[in-house]
């Protein structure tokens, strides 16, 4: 039997089994999900071995002992992570984890700063730059667009400002002005999440159409 036919058969039945969840949770759905977790974990582990670990391991310089030892250190540190599976000696793996967390934190700071904060702040400033506007009506629209976006950015950030003072009666309340700004922020957040929800729903619908069309095509090809 050609491999394409086997692939189509398995894919067809797994799709039907996953869709059976719409009727309710059932043993077939659980079988499909456990199979999926097992296969995808095994596949991910394979890809990591072939794409991350093996290329670095095979390029270790065997001629220079110092370079070889330095090159083997991360592999050794990675191996110590296995001790995390045994609570009694799990401290051995903390060094590897410390390097991972330290480098990860620094990379995250760099990414947040260079990849988000600076470009987003720049874009917020550029939104009020009218030099590129051709006509006066275009400039008015650009001004409106820029003001709405800037207001949205400020109000959304204000919503996440949770600092509050304790009133004489013991209750904790935010500043009334901040409370008002936060309410405006909620409006912007609700609209943003509405748009994001629509986008995710559209993606899910596209996946639904693709799966249904694959089921129909399979039945058609099977019936000839």
């Amino acid at each position: 039997m050609p491999i394409d036919v086997i692939t189509a058969f398995i894919g067809f039945f797994l799709t039907l089994i996953i869709f059976s969840y719409l009727i309710g949770d059932n043993p077939l759905f659980r079988i499909a999900v456990h199979l999926f977790v097992g296969v995808s974990s095994g596949y991910a582990a394979t890809v990591i071995c072939y794409s991350v670990l093996l290329p670095r391991f095979t390029t270790l310089s065997l001629g220079d002992p110092v370079q070889l030892v330095i090159g083997l250190v991360p592999f050794f540190l990675g191996a110590t992570l296995l001790t995390k599976l045994t609570p009694r000696i799990s401290w051995i793996g903390s060094f590897a984890l410390a390097i991972l967390v330290g480098v990860g934190a620094a990379t995250a700071i760099g990414g947040a700063l260079i990849g988000t904060l600076i470009p987003q702040a720049q874009a917020a400033m550029d939104a009020l730059n009218f030099r590129s506007a051709g006509s006066s009506s275009e400039a008015v629209f650009k001004l409106f667009d820029g003001v709405v976006m800037l207001t949205g950015t400020v109000l959304t950030l204000a919503y996440f400002q949770f600092s509050a003072k304790r009133a004489p009666d013991g209750t904790v309340k935010r500043n009334p002005i901040l409370e008002l700004l936060a309410w405006g922020g909620r409006v912007f957040i609700a609209i943003t999440f509405g748009v994001l929800f629509a986008g995710v729903y559209m993606a899910a619908l596209t996946a639904m159409i693709e799966r249904l069309s694959s089921l129909i095509n399979f039945v058609k090809s099977f019936l000839g």
Binding site: V37, S94, L97, A98, L100, F197, A204, R211
Partner: protein
């Protein structure tokens, strides 16, 4: 020991962070440490997969409820990983695993999300029918109608919805993105200052 792990984390983090600002002096060291972190992260994923297998095997050994599902998971994991190690991820057998199991199940799970999202929206409206919920659902429905291809072409006035919802959502999204970035910055700095020690150095 706790101090040593903190020193490891802070030193490696500071070198990588300073490498962004002093590329001429620290760039090679930064790349060297990032490469180390990539290897350790790769091995951490392998340890995670091993842990998944051990936990499921423990379920089988202690004859817990639904142990047969765990057996299927462990078997499929071992077979896929074993075949992958022997033949490599580009081999036809591994493509079978991807095309017959991973892609159809992922796409089908994404597809049933279309139904579960509707269900979640109805539940949201029942449990918390305030002004923000109504606004959220109205925007979602209007935006969906505006971007969705219909058999009778675009709905009238779809550009107004796209223009205004886009304008407002861009402002909100920018605020959320800046908020997330500030949160990431703060969390990263807390780790680099040794205030948070998620590597077990507390």
């Amino acid at each position: 020991m706790r101090i040593f792990t903190a020193v490891f984390a802070i030193a490696s983090g500071l070198i990588v962070l300073l490498g962004y600002f002093f590329p001429n002096q620290l760039e090679p060291l930064r790349l060297f440490l990032v490469d180390w972190a990539v290897i350790i992260a790769g091995m951490a994923v392998l340890v995670g997969v091993a842990n998944l297998a051990f936990v499921q095997m423990e379920k089988i050994r202690t004859r817990q409820k639904n142990g047969s599902y765990s057996a299927l998971l462990v078997l499929s994991l071992i077979v896929t990983f074993g075949l992958g190690l022997v033949f490599g991820p580009q081999h036809q057998i591994m493509r079978l695993a991807m095309d017959a199991v991973i892609f159809p199940v992922e796409a089908s799970l994404m597809a049933i999300l279309a139904v579960t999202l509707i269900y979640a929206s109805i539940r949201l409206f029942r449990r918390r029918a305030d002004a923000m919920t109504v606004l959220f659902l109205i925007v979602a429905v209007l935006f969906l109608l505006a971007i969705m291809p219909t058999p009778f072409g675009p709905i009238p006035g779809d550009w107004i919805v796209l223009e205004f919802a886009g304008m407002f959502s861009r402002g909100g999204a920018r605020g959320l993105l800046i908020g997330v970035a500030l949160g990431t910055l703060l969390t990263g700095l807390r780790v680099l200052f040794g205030i948070d020690r998620p590597y077990g150095g507390n």
